[in-house]
């Protein structure tokens, strides 16, 4: 025991070196977690007395149609944006990785560019492209002989616009991640397949997809978690108070309750439900993820 204490004393400089993270962690993570559990069973406007209300915040939430609508929107936005986006990312990564492609560095950078644009800017640009009446997209649609769409008047339309923003911003990012995975696949696998007369499509489905499976599942997990954190798009599109139909999300719902209506206890309860949803999805993904290692 004395030896351990001596070791600890001898390592005091090292503890000092690593202490900033743990101090910040205690103040800004550990304490908030416990505080938020406490808050979630209270009613509090931030000024007056905290009122213990048991589980009534949760009961209210599960009976609030706005909450369910936000959850449905979240799931719809996630499916609509991530399905097509991840498929496109995979195809783009596969094509860039082909040996005949020149200027790989240029393509990597060009495809990545949208990802560094601030989401607020993306929303402003896309909102103008998808204008209800005179937007650029509607102009293209009319020229193709189709009818205009009032994008911001229906849930489906708004979801398509938001999904387009997300897909545009993250497609290249995911392509870069996939590309790094592709470069780890041994070249001789492709060469052997080529010698056996496999087509490009066959090498894609028989070699690329199976070898990339862990990275694909990783990116599905990350984008699912990201999908449940959608906030900036609807908030910048329509403000806090009256989101467009189909654009309300759980984080926006929580933000509104907490920071517009000062229902801190209720907002904390919403954040816990969000955490549980993300947790369940992560566990499901994790199971899939581990199965691939067998």
């Amino acid at each position: 025991m004395g030896g351990l204490l001596k070791d600890i004393y001898k390592s005091r400089t090292l503890y000092l070196f690593i202490s900033p993270f743990y101090i910040l962690f205690l103040i800004f993570s550990v304490f908030p977690i416990f505080f938020s559990i406490y808050l979630s069973v209270h009613k509090w406007d931030g000024i007056g007395e905290m009122q213990s209300v048991g589980f009534s915040n949760f009961v209210y939430m599960f009976n609030d149609p706005t909450f369910w609508q936000a959850l449905i929107n979240n799931i719809a936005l996630w499916l609509l944006s991530n399905g097509p986006m991840l498929v496109c990312s995979l195809i783009v990564a596969f094509v860039i990785n082909l040996s005949i492609v020149k200027f790989k560095g240029f393509f990597r950078i060009a495809y990545f560019l949208p990802n560094i644009t601030a989401m607020v800017a993306v929303v402003i640009i896309f909102q103008s492209m998808f204008g209800n009446e005179y937007g650029l997209i509607n102009y293209v649609l009319e020229n193709l002989g189709l009818s205009k769409i009032a994008w911001f008047n229906s849930s489906a339309g708004v979801r398509v616009v938001i999904a387009a923003m997300i897909s545009w911003r993250y497609m290249g990012y995911n392509a870069i991640i996939y590309l790094s995975g592709l470069q780890r696949i041994p070249k001789d696998l492709y060469e052997a397949a080529h010698l056996d007369g496999a087509t490009t499509l066959q090498t894609f489905t028989k070699i690329t997809i199976p070898m990339l499976r862990p990275i694909i599942l990783f990116s599905v997990m990350m984008s699912t978690i990201g999908g449940f954190q959608i906030f900036t798009e609807p908030q910048v599109l329509a403000g806090n108070q009256s989101p467009y139909p189909g654009s309300d999300t759980i984080v926006l719902y929580m933000f509104r309750e907490g920071f517009n209506y000062q229902n801190y206890g209720y907002a904390a309860a919403v954040s816990w439900v969000l955490f549980i949803i993300i947790g369940i999805i992560s566990v499901l993904n994790w199971k899939l993820f581990n199965r691939s290692d067998d």
């Binding site: 977690i33 808050l39 931030g46 005949i100 950078i109 492209m129 870069i176 991640i177 990275i215 904390a268």
Partner: protein, 271 residues
């Protein structure tokens, strides 16, 4: 064979055009009058209204101020994070001390805590500390990050023990080992982390939206949002503001892109 080559490159170039087009549209809009953009067909070529739009932006928001606010927060955050993360990462990589393993895994585990869950209580803590509306609230909570420490540790593992031992024999103390030996070796890892943090601050929206109340302290994304919600009628001005807020980061990205992409690819393989 060559025709296949052409098809493949044409496909990739079409994708690049799709990636670049919104930027082109942004520039087109910022150089035209609002009426030209909402005309049918919309104007797809550059106009001559950029200077006018630019002047309108400057009259409506304090763009220069927001720009320097953002720059200040980004640079301060980057410097502090680089210091604390590399020092902690180096310590974990190169020294063994009682509890070091447990503390390290505890830190890794914190990466699983979703930021949204902490939003409300963190806001209340910041409010109680009297930090609401100050840059401290934007900079201090993120001064050391689990991801950054993990990233730095991975690189620091490669530092040779002989080098550290030799320096210790020469009378170098532990901080000296970090400052004189580890830091120069860690430079590429530091560069990637610096760029990531810088870009993250430039784009951050939710936390500044909650913390900052005084418009003179607004960051670029907040100023932009303010411009948008107040001036929907003058769209070309909003677009000019968006362009002004976006271009510096794009130029910065193009300057550092090679290193940045290499960093991402390396990180992806490691995870």
């Amino acid at each position: 064979m060559t025709s296949k080559k052409i098809v493949v490159h044409a496909f990739l170039l079409a994708g690049v055009l799709l990636s670049i087009f919104p930027f082109y549209w942004l520039v087109v809009m910022s150089t035209n009058e609002t009426s030209a953009i909402f005309a049918f067909p919309p104007k797809l070529t550059f106009g001559t209204y950029f200077i006018t739009n630019y002047q309108h932006v400057m009259e409506n928001i304090n763009f220069t101020r927001s720009f320097f606010n953002t720059l200040f927060i980004a640079v301060t955050s980057s410097v502090l994070q680089l210091f604390f993360n590399s020092l902690t990462g180096f310590t974990f990589a190169k020294f063994k001390f009682p509890g070091s393993k447990v503390l390290f895994y505890l830190m890794i585990a914190t990466m699983m805590i979703p930021a949204q869950m902490l939003l409300v209580p963190q806001f209340i803590i910041i409010k109680e500390m009297g930090w609401l509306g100050s840059y401290k609230a934007l900079i201090v909570p993120g001064m050391a990050s689990a991801f950054g420490i993990f990233w730095m540790r991975q690189y620091a593992l490669a530092i040779h023990d002989d080098m550290l031992e030799a320096a210790t024999i020469d009378g170098c103390n532990k901080f000296g080992l970090y400052w004189r030996i580890a830091l120069p070796i860690l430079r590429p890892a530091l560069a990637f982390l610096a760029i990531t943090i810088f870009m993250g601050v430039w784009e951050d929206y939710l936390w500044p939206l909650i913390i900052l109340t005084d418009t003179s302290k607004f960051t670029l994304t907040l100023a932009l949002q303010q411009l948008k919600s107040a001036h929907t009628a003058d769209y070309s001005m909003v677009m000019t503001g968006t362009l002004l807020a976006t271009v510096p980061l794009i130029i910065f990205f193009l300057l550092v892109s090679r290193q940045f992409i290499a960093g991402i690819m390396e990180g992806a393989v490691k995870s």
